[in-house]
Each structure stands twice: as C-alpha cells, then as structure tokens.
C-alpha cells in the first residue's frame, strides 16, 4: 500500500464513507477507494463493517465485469484496510452532461441504462444508488460506477428501488423529456430482464407513491391496484 500512496496520488472526492483517489498502479491509471475507519463505532464493528462492504463491492464488481457488463475491472483488494483499486474510466458523469444532449442521444443513453439494470438484476444484484451521478459516459459507452451500497437480493423491491432512483434522477435532469426517456429505459429493461418485468415496474410505481409529496387519492388508486391484481 505504501508504494501506491504518495506517488501521483490525487484526491478525487471525499464522501461520508470513503475517500477516492486517482492513483498510479504499476504504471496504470487507477482509482483507489479507501473506506475510512470511524471512531464512533466499536472497534470490532468498525472492522467487520469495512471488511464486509469492501468485500461485497469487490465481489459484485468482478461478477458484473465477468458477465460482460460495463463496469470498471477490479485490480486490487485489501479487505483489512478497506482498500479497493479499480480501473480508471476516462469519461464524464452523466449527471453533468445528460441535460445537454439532443433527445436522440439522451434516449439512447436511457435505453442503455435500462438494459444495464436488467442484466444486473438478472444476476440477482442491485446497485443501491442507481442515479445519473453514478453513470459514466465514454463516447457512446455507458459505464456504471460506485457499487458501495450494492448487494445480492432476489427481492423485486431492491430492483424497483434502483429503477425508481434512476427515474427520479432523469426527471431532475430533463424534466421536459422525462416521460419519453423513462419509457425508453423501462422498455429496454423489459426486453432484457429475466423474470417478469411487469412485477418490477408495478412495484416501482408503488414506491413512487410511497413518497412524501403525493396526493392521497393518487396513492390510494395505485395501492388499490396491488390488492385487486
């Protein structure tokens, strides 16, 4: 670790859970994510926490990479120190550029985002923070990053939360075209998801009315559908 730190190390971002650096990994440009130990947690819990989250993130990243999905490849894992080093992807965050594209390009990106989610969910994996801020665009390719909150689950609730978060993120970025873009995402999702995609889409609708600024009558009408169906 000592060899990685110190040389050409640039701090990219500092979050609540981890620090992210751009590093030189044996001549390769790489991203190092280091989880920070928290004094407020009991020592044992802190160690278990850091080890587990690092391990899950690394395992999921490699599984997705092996399945051929566009995620950074894992270069190095040090569970004990909470260090994960992954391939650096030269690209722009979709949250910064998405609103500037013409509708055709935005639609094609939305479709790819939907396709990615479908293939990820088909492997029993959810992202946990699926928003445009975690989508990187390199030319016409769509990469998904930051699997810090991801996990394994067969519960459609987790899948629906991913779609719900992304739909909300798209809406915030392009409120005027949101309907078309979200439909493109969901259509593509439907054609790649292995299970019954309608189940996921229905749950997603339900989650959106669980929200806090929703008219009671709208909420009732959607929740009712669940019980009738």
């Amino acid at each position: 670790m000592a060899t990685i730190e110190g040389r050409n190390t640039i701090l990219l971002s500092r979050g609540a859970e981890a620090e992210v650096y751009l590093v030189d990994f044996f001549g390769l440009r790489a991203v190092m994510k280091r989880r920070i130990s928290k004094k407020y947690r009991a020592k044992l819990f802190d160690e278990v926490f850091i080890r587990n989250r690092t391990r899950v993130e690394a395992r999921i990243l490699s599984e997705l990479y092996e399945a051929g999905l566009s995620v950074p490849s894992v270069l190095f894992v040090d569970e004990e120190n909470g260090v994960l080093i992954v391939e650096y992807i030269e690209g722009v965050r979709a949250s910064e550029s998405f609103e500037k594209f013409d509708l055709g390009k935005a639609t094609s990106i939305s479709r790819r985002i939907g396709g990615f989610a479908a293939r990820m969910h088909s492997l029993g994996i959810y992202h946990g923070d699926y928003t445009l801020a975690n989508v990187l665009l390199r030319e016409s390719e769509v990469y998904v990053i930051d699997f810090g909150l991801s996990g394994y689950s067969s519960d459609v609730e987790e899948y629906a939360i991913d779609l719900h978060l992304m739909a909300r993120s798209i809406k915030a970025s392009r409120p005027l075209d949101a309907e078309v873009l979200i439909k493109a995402m969901l259509d593509e999702y439907g054609s790649h998801y292995r299970g019954d995609y309608r189940e996921v889409i229905n749950r997603m609708k339900e989650i959106s009315v669980r929200g806090r600024y929703i008219d009671r009558e709208v909420r009732k009408s959607i929740m009712r559908e669940r019980y009738i169906a």
Partner: protein, 358 residues
C-alpha cells in the same frame, strides 16, 4: 428546571410587538400530559413554566385508553401547576397552543378538548401545532442553530431533515419502526422493562453494561433511509436463547444499541456531506441518550461542525415546545377558531409550509 426563566434570542425576524406575548402550550400526544408557558418580548423568548405528568405502564407498552385516562385525571392539576409556576392567571395568557398530531387518537383528544374549552370560554385565540415540528423548533431556539441537519429520534419518529423553501425536507427516515420503539420493544420482549427508564437511563443502556462483548447483527441502511425491524427480530431471537444469562443478554443489548446508533450516525454523515450544513441538531426523546450523543460528538468533531443535543427536560415530550411553536404561529398570524381545530393522528411535518423557515 435549569432552562426556566432563561432567555433566548428569537432567530426569526418578526414585526416588533409593543408588549409581552404569553402563549400556553398543551402536549398530550402520547404518554406525557404537559403544559408549558413562554413569554415573548423585545425579540427574546423566556420559558415561564414546564409542568407535566407521565403515564407509566406497569406492564406492557402504552395502552392508548390507559394513557387517555391518565391525561383526563391529571390535566387540571398540571394546568394549575403551570400557571402557578408562571405566576399567571389564564387571563394573562394571549393564546392557547395545542399539539394536534401526530399521536394517539384518544390522548390527542384530551389536549384538544382542553385547548378548545380554554379558547372558547376565555376568548383566547387558538393555535394548532405539529408535535414533530415543535420538537425541532425548540431545539433550534435553544441551540441557536438556524439551519442544521436535524436528527429527530423518539418513540414514534426517526428522521433526518433539513429546511428548504419554507418546508421541512425529509432526507431519510425509518422505513418501519422508529428507534425509540426498537429499544422499548426489545426491552419489553427481552423481559428487562417496564420500567423503561430508570434515573434517566434506558433499560437497554443499563443492560448493555452487563457485558463488554459484541455480536454481529443485521445492519440495514438504504441510501439515507433506515430499517430496524430485521435488527429487532434478530436481536430478540438471540435474546431468547440466553435464558437468563445476564452477560449474554448484556452483549445483545450492547450490540443492538451499537448497530442501531451506527446506522443513524451513518445516514446523518451522508446527509451532512450531501447538504454541506455546518451543524447537527439532535432532538426527540432518544436525544438524551448519552451513548448516542457521544457518537454524534465524534462525527461533529471529525467534520468540524457544531453539535447540540437537546437536554432531557425539553428532549422528551413537553408542553414548553408546544407553547414556543405556538408562539411562532401566533407571531405569523396563523391562528384558528376553536371549532376549526381538529386532531390529526397522521400528521407529517413536511406537509405544510412554515413561514419562519429559511
């Protein structure tokens, strides 16, 4: 009563009022029947009285009917005591404030009935207050933080909030049971409560001192939202296997508390990074927990932000916070007729705009 007769600068600017304004607040949402009185003059708020009586179940949890009967029996004496403390007659009060929700229906009705009566009989304006908003407002007043990340934890609520566009915005909240409920339910089911609180210490905190061991328990954070029900089930399952082994039960309590608090602190950290606020305000009944405060003090120091946890006398349910929040409503002209004040068992704090918010 260390806070009584202290003066606080009102952080919002309202039109100057030539005379003193006194508001009486009634709290009856759950186990506490409380009456508080505040006085406003020259841009400063003074706490005149904070009287209360608490319903303490001898077995099980809060029974709404029993709590209701307690409130009915104790309302007159608590009201009298508050007026005595403030050295006032009801005629010296300018407005009556009452917590209309969220809370238990039967309990809420006691406070609302008393408030409507006082308002109609003595011809005083009435103000309907949201109980959750009151917890936060009094915390902001006493801490002097105008725009903090707010962590509201009690028996009925667990939320991380910020203020935006004159509204409270919920950044994260519990998806199932609240934190206080988690601790109480565990204590009850594990056979270490009631009493839930002894000399200011919760049964789970007392039990946690029986051991220094930790056991791994489920940790569920979804973005900024929390889920405690899986943690409760898992902790209870292990607790039942201890069969009276004090040390083992101690380890469960210690681990339950540690896991639940770590979850809460993690989402607070995330909100802090997301919103770049420069202070953290801890309010609600669980705010007086020393272990929780210690954890928050750590992160406040780590991020170089301010931290304030409301002291026990205003952290738990009390009439003072209703009186103070009632005063804010009154100063902004948000007064009602007694026949238009209704209780609202489900009353979210992010439903309405509050004109004094940034």
């Amino acid at each position: 009563m260390s806070l009584l007769n202290k003066e606080y600068e009102l952080y919002v600017s309202v039109k100057p009022v030539g005379r003193e304004i006194r508001v009486l607040g009634i709290e009856s949402t759950s186990h506490t029947f409380g009456v508080g009185i505040v006085e406003y003059s020259g841009g400063r708020v003074k706490f005149l009285a904070n009287a209360y009586s608490q319903y303490k179940p001898t077995s099980g949890g809060i029974h709404p009917r029993e709590s209701f009967l307690h409130h009915v029996n104790n309302a007159p004496s608590v009201l009298r005591k508050a007026l005595e403390l403030a050295k006032l007659g009801i005629k010296g009060v300018d407005a009556i404030a009452v917590a209309v929700g969220p809370g238990l229906g039967p309990c809420l009705r006691v406070g609302a009935s008393l408030a409507r009566f006082l308002s109609a009989y003595y011809g005083k304006p009435i103000v309907a207050v949201n109980h959750a908003v009151a917890h936060i407002e009094i915390g902001k007043l006493v801490s002097g933080f105008a725009d903090p990340v707010i962590v509201y934890v009690s028996g009925g609520n667990t939320m991380i909030l910020v203020q935006k566009n004159k509204k409270y915005r919920v950044m994260g909240e519990t998806l199932d049971i609240p934190l206080g409920n988690l601790l109480d339910t565990f204590a009850r089911e594990a056979g270490i409560a009631p009493p839930y609180v002894v000399e200011g210490k919760h049964a789970v905190d007392i039990c946690a001192e029986w051991s220094h061991e930790y056991i791994a328990l489920p940790y569920t954070v979804k973005g900024c939202d929390l889920s405690f029900s899986g943690l409760l089930t898992a902790a209870l399952k292990i607790a039942r296997e201890t069969r009276g082994d004090k040390e083992k039960l101690g380890a469960v309590c210690r681990s339950l508390r540690e896991t639940a608090f770590n979850m809460l602190v993690e989402v607070t950290e995330r909100t802090l990074m997301l919103t770049s606020k420069n202070s953290i305000l801890l309010v609600g009944g669980v705010a007086s927990n020393t272990e929780l405060r210690r954890k928050f003090e750590y992160i406040a120091e780590h991020y170089g932000v301010g931290f304030y946890g409301t002291p026990p006398e205003i952290a738990g349910d009390n009439g003072l916070m209703i009186a103070y929040t009632g005063l804010l409503h009154y100063l902004y002209g948000l007064i009602k007729e007694p026949n238009s004040v209704f209780i609202k068992q489900r009353y979210r704090l992010d439903e309405e705009e509050y004109p004094w918010l940034p």
